[in-house]
Amino acid sequence: MNIKKSEKISKKLKGSSVGIAGLGGLGSNAAISLARIGIGRLVLVDFDKIEECNLNRQYYFLDQVGKYKTEALKENIQRVNPSVKVDIKNYKLNKGAMDNPFHNVDVIVEALDSAEEKTIFIEEIMQNLPNIPLVACSGTAGYGNSDRIKTKQIGNLYLCQDKDARSSDDDVLLAPRVCLMANWEANIVLEILLGEDK
């Protein structure tokens, strides 16, 4: 371990903030990874409560079923790294105001479920907060085919994508691929925050 590099990174991350839209399989796992590495502040947005069927891929525990995802994830993050400041917003992102919670963050992570919501979110963020890098994800359903996942960058939009994946409406959502793509998003966030010095 390069201690000097590690200290330099920690310092930079402590001063950084990341907003996450949606705390399902993508958002909960990305948030935990970002918390582990010591991001200064996380803004977490979701309206949903945890269901037992979420536990096959989302970062929650059996005894948290029925709780709001925002509150449960804040608890879990604090168990991992209490130094992370966690701002939770317990509401549904509405069309026309999707950018509202994310005006004061360094990077935004799209971690929503339906294609329609993803599209509207990306459009609104790119239109209303064009200077904040946005990391989005498309094609998490299924298993295997890890090698099809790619990062596509268009300006300030970084898309973690498997173009040939099926919609989750016609396929399954399972931890290995969902967590892979959640951490792919978190890894892009890290690259954006830390810049070229790898």
Binding site: G22, G24, G25, L26, G27, A111, L112, D113, S114, A115, E116, K118, T119, I122, E123, M126, Q127, P130, A136, C137, S138, G139, T140, A141, K152, I154, G155, L157, L159, D162, K163, A165, R166, S167, S168, D169, D171, L173, V178
Partner: protein, 66 residues
Amino acid sequence: MSIKVNGKQVIWIENETVKQLLKRMKYTFPLVVVKINDKLVPRSSYTETIIPDKAKIAVIHMISGG
């Protein structure tokens, strides 16, 4: 006289709108994000935005799952 759509070279047609281009490319999926030369084209302007020559166009199609 050509444009690039998702990295693919395509003939440029004078006065073609985003909506017409999506149709020509057979991009029929309803949910897309369109950027021309890195600039977002709002969905409401697909019918009036004209594609300039040599434009680089990105059409992104989101797939459900999260």
